[in-house]
Symmetry: D3
């Protein structure tokens, strides 16, 4: 059964019967002493909270077996409470993905290209790096982390928080970065390519992720250090293993340390050579445009979005003559 009802399109008072992924689940007792189900449901378009009232003991036993990540089939109604939509659930049961013919990609947010394809493209760029030391660094990172890169998100929330989001982030930065090396011909392509590939390498250890690119949160090390400080350490260790020369090692560490640019975003130093400067802007552009595309995909031509938290609470505008391009194809 192919999915028809997507959370992002839910209208108040609409009835539906469709499948979702369980994001959180708990059985509670209401103020009158009756049991009810409080459940978080998701699909590739978003997440929503739902409630099923007056749960019987039998139901409770069944519901108690549901786990985060399970797919469930739900019949319900879209309601609204204090301006927030939620679902009133009449019926809910565990789905059987195979028997029901469900496609996992309907239930998980993912980059528009496959992880494997993006990995190959990025790896070929790494191979094209002329400087043997930089090439060795880029390939070492890619090859040692291939498995996780295929599904890792680029963030826990915010931009690129999706399956294979980290590769998608790297790929688009590489494409823009190569062009920059043409226009600004004094830029050294080897450094731009290697810097882009390595800049977020420790996202793999800063945030945790399941195999669908959904991150439950930060790791212990991520909380105490953050991916920038972790990245500097990681370059140091890899460089020692690969016997990289001192100057290049420190320059790579500097690229990672400086790529957030502002102290309050985690970079204690600012870029000191042109490729490090470029790296920062490639990162910014990809992050910002991701958020624009994502947010604008939710509104109709001629309308404004809600305030977008990651874009300084701006309301974004989709022109009345938008007839396709601006994120339309995402729906």
């Amino acid at each position: 059964m192919s999915k028809e009802f997507y959370i992002a399109d839910a209208q108040v008072d609409a009835s539906f019967t469709d499948n979702f992924m369980v994001k959180s689940i708990s059985l509670r007792v209401d103020s009158k002493g009756k049991q009810y189900l409080d459940i978080g449901l998701g699909d590739r378009s978003g997440e929503i909270s739902g409630k099923k009232w007056d749960v019987t003991e039998d139901e409770a036993a069944q519901l108690g077996r549901l786990r985060e990540g399970d797919l469930v089939k739900v019949r319900g109604l879209v309601t609204e409470w204090n301006g927030t939509k939620q679902l009133r659930i009449f019926k809910i049961r565990k789905a059987d993905p195979e028997a029901d013919g469900l496609d996992i990609s309907d239930y998980v947010k993912a980059a528009p290209e496959s992880g494997a394809a993006m990995f190959e493209l990025i790896r070929s760029k790494a191979e094209s790096v002329g400087d043997p030391e930089l090439r060795a660094m880029a390939l070492c990172f890619l090859d040692e982390n291939r498995e996780r890169l295929l599904y890792y998100p680029g963030a826990m929330r915010n931009h690129h928080a999706e399956m294979a989001g980290l590769l998608y982030h790297i790929e688009r930065m590489l494409l823009m970065g190569e062009k920059a090396c043409e226009v600004y011909s004094f830029l050294r392509r080897d450094w731009v390519v290697t810097g882009v590939i390595l800049h977020d390498m420790e996202k793999l250890n800063e945030i945790e992720s399941n195999a669908y690119g959904v991150s439950p949160g930060y790791s212990f090390e991520g909380k105490l250090l953050g991916h920038i400080a972790q990245g500097v350490k990681a370059i140091e260790l890899m460089a020692q293993k690969l016997k990289i020369s001192e100057e290049k090692k420190i320059m790579l560490e500097h690229m990672i340390l400086s790529h957030h640019y502002e102290p309050e975003f985690g970079s204690p130093v600012r870029p000191m050579f042109a490729e490090a400067e470029m790296l920062h802007y490639l990162d910014m552009i990809d992050a910002k445009l991701y958020d624009f595309e994502d947010s604008l995909s939710l509104v109709a031509p001629g309308e404004f979005t809600e305030r977008v938290r990651t874009l300084d609470n701006r309301m974004l505008y989709k022109p009345s003559f938008a007839d396709g391009p601006a994120g339309e194809e995402k729906a």
Copy 2:
């Protein structure tokens, strides 16, 4: 005679005989009552101050005829005072550019491409804009201001303060912008191209400039309003003349109004659609990389620059293995 001694390369205690452009000039009386010449000299590599002591009445009469912009032939010595280099002048006379076979481009800082060539490239991009309203706006601006664009600098000081610097700024932003439209396919190319061409249009009226792209300062209107507010007005007037539809006119005004992004840099609003966001980053990249290239051209491989004011007082690093690209070719 081709120029051999450039200001940027002056070494303390070096003697020289070469030509320069007069940047400022005055005859003064020293504390012992003797006349001396206090003169500012420039060439395409920079500027320096010079003094000629014990000026006789005859000399004074001759020197009194020199004007800013004149070329002069000077014999002198490089000295240093409180850490700043200056010239001790032994002999100075007005040069005769034709007789002496001087090339004006040795004396004025200029973009690396000719204004005319850049203008043609940019104009062809404007012609390729599909939307007739946007195309009309871009072409109208270019065609009405062709003459001044051929030499106008992009700033009074700072990045692109050079002959035809404004066109050079637009050109490189266009090249990067077109690539961005490929990588981020939801961007509308018409808007990126038109936005780039128009974003700094009122620099033409905010700062003044002579025919060599040297700006003596801000205009009256530039001081009271600034090129962003001026640009919004200019779009309004041009749009009325060309009968541009309301929504598109306001969107273009918004692009200009928001392209500095931060209130403290002159933008009261932040970009609200993706092409306006992209415009900002194209502008930033071109400005920053200009400064990197410019500053790094002054140091040798393995060295750091002085602190660069326009880059938050950073010291920049030129790698020891830099053997060409990084700005070297500018000398």
Copy 3:
């Protein structure tokens, strides 16, 4: 019937029967499947939210015909939910203003003077401007916008968000401004008067308003540009029509552009002549004192107000010996 129960005076557990203006309205289904009415009600003293439970099909049909701006007669009870007062509605019907003898001014917040009287006063000040160019600008604005000025609010929320609030704002600034010209005799009265009259002229196009001075929100242009950038454009167009000289036109544009003073409040430049500086302080005083009077009118002598959002979350104090002046008469 004259209104007796005002929202600002509502006490928890009080019963009432009185008329209100509908501010928002919707019929919803509660979590048990029953219909209920969720309605926003207002009068000149404030706004409050109300609910009527268990709406029958017949009632629903009637309620479905109510519109924002209608007056309704309500019987209900004041309750409290999480520290916020709301109304439990037992009975509600559309009122018949004429038959019921209702005075519209009881239901809408309005400036304490009539729009027409304020308009005349302000227009007479415009006529007294000696400089013919400035006089023409001030009169042109007033005469072309007379109709809307009679009811337009000065803001969507915050200070002067009331019927004819914009005129009230201008009027009080003019009175203070004229005095300032006596005390600081080097101020040019023509510029202060004209600046005050024009400074917020584009509020008329930045925010929308119904005929009672209630604003549903910002216009498209207001969102993308804001009244300051719009004002600069408007001066430009009006000045071209009236053939105002260049210097004066730019000075007027500068007054508008700089009157918010701080970049983060929308002014990219600060005032550069004394009348522009004065304009800013006249604006600030009128805005702040409006908020003081408004907030203090809600508390008794010897008490503090709640934190006032528009006054940096200050709590304001009404002295124990306040026996009249401080806003008392507003109740």
Copy 4:
């Protein structure tokens, strides 16, 4: 002899013979071992530094008797060093004010009205205060400090740093404040008048001053506490002496404590009642307009001033049609 050459009007290369007040003086030995005089000279229009070279032993003995505050007669030449004007002195001797018929007011910057006249005006306002407690406070301050008020400046540098500048500051604030009480009729005039009179009362003990209103610097207490904290203490002591009721005493202390508004300007709390708010703006207006008038008096119509440090480094503009009012009469 009436003074003809004023420092503010000094042109490079001009010769002059006129009188000045000594601001600082010292005899030094130059790098060749010869004595020279290094002297600071002032008049009511400004200050300048001067040098007399090759001082003989006889001259040195005479010059050694000069003191700050003395008037001297000087023959010299205006020169320029690194963009700063200074005087080359040929001849200098102590002046005899009586014999030479000098008017002290030519040598000291002073408010445009006499201290005595301003004091009377202000005292009459204090007497008109209706509340007996506030009236007692205002009169006590004025009467106990009459002597010093007649000449005290309002600041060490910056606005109102002139003879009787503190009274001038209070006077103009009172005039504006009374008008404000008419326009904003809920303001209590007693509080505005008393607050204005007392708000800077401890300037008298924060800065030091000679009898010409020239301040050599901050007092010990001024450095460690500042006039705001000192003012709170002073109100406390005066209120205890005059048996002022608790609430009014604390409200007066709050007015002083909050009148700089921003923590970074010395006010840990912001105004909490309307008269305290008004006090802040009256203070700001008088300070800012003083600086506008003062700075604009130095330039010709159609010109910009230098950057004014106390006005956020703005350059101010004097309109081309300024033909009198704007500070012209100060020259």
Copy 5:
């Protein structure tokens, strides 16, 4: 009966019967017209909100007699609403502390040492001050305020908001301060000791407190002035009474005025002598470490706390090997 169920340990769905202190109480009518009890309950570990539904008229009469500060015996269930725990109350009655054998210290948060013991320690330090003027100041403050110091909290909320919290704050600062005088031997111990004892003296008049160290809020004077400005006044008055010399009086006032260090935290000046600087850091250390200990006492080894508001929203970490010290003993 000794208390067994503490609020900080409440688990959702747990049943309990235990005593609490009433923090707030009100009877309300729900949206269906039935009465219910809305009550705030506390013990030494924290506070929580509770509700009892369907209150009868008889119950209402009884509940109406409960007052804040009363101890009550409650039978109930821990529930959760929107992520916040609350209590569903089945039965509630006023407790009889004596008959029920309740220990008041179970219901109120208090410093770990007795007020009397801390007072004696602090007083002995004051007596050991060598300078007679400083000693007189310190002893005067302690002796005149002994009664209130024994129970006064150090704050309304935040650090040291507990019975005798102010003395606890002073005591620990003194212990650290004395050590500092050994390590940094140029510090004058008399000034450090006296400064610590007096620095928060006006907390006694800035916030209000009942005899258990629970503060209902700020005083009138506290709101309008704050304990720093109040402290400067208090030193002035005490110094006049004790005839303290001018320099020392002003230095003590400066210590109080500067001890918050930053303008935005209430200090218009920064410390100007070493003992004032040290005072600031002693204050900071004690405040911060109090919050660390307090927050970490709520989590198990190897876990992070919630975000702590008073520590810039940090999440704190308790090491997995923590087996005692780190706040464990507080539970």
Copy 6:
């Protein structure tokens, strides 16, 4: 010969004959074509610039052999130029430390205790650490770097820029830190001691230093990374070598990463456990009090210092009754 004339005590117009260390040296040609010596001289009290005019060819040959770090004997005169003291040199020759009986400690600023003694004290603290992993880390750092620690400064400029300044910084922080562990008994002493010893470990590689603790500047790595990022790497490598457990390794890295507290001072994260918080304040106290002692040592009782750059441009006060302690003994 023991030194009698110290730079910090130089009075204008004083003659002297004494020894100094050469800090910088160059021979220049003046504007009249004559050679002169431009030399920087230092002793343990400070630095000053000197000039010798009219250098003959013979002298030039001799002077050309002087190097930075050499001791020279000078006869000269203290002069002043633009408010800055400098030396006019009449005679200068290279000194012979042994023959002249010079004590190197007179010429170099150094900590008041010997490096060896401080090292032993610190090492004994490291040995007393109970946790074997932490102990191993602390000892490893000390033992591997003993030689350089004996003379390394704590900074290039600012606090602890003196011979053995880094050890002095660590020692005093340890003394305060141990006391803190008594007062705040939940602090783990092992972590405070180890954290203090390691927190600035990479100052050894961030700045360069000669054997007298004089730093010529930052290293390449210091410029690109800074001692905080370098320290995180260094802990990682040392921890791998010593097989430290994961949690403890990351906690140590976190202590280093967070010890500057504010992003703008280089710490991207803030302390997350109590010992890391304490480390920050120990660091601050030692830095600030160093600056207080240092600055106050230059003024007499009852005077203020100049503005101190490293203390937010404060002027510091030395009480009139200071009769010893406050830095006096340094002169």
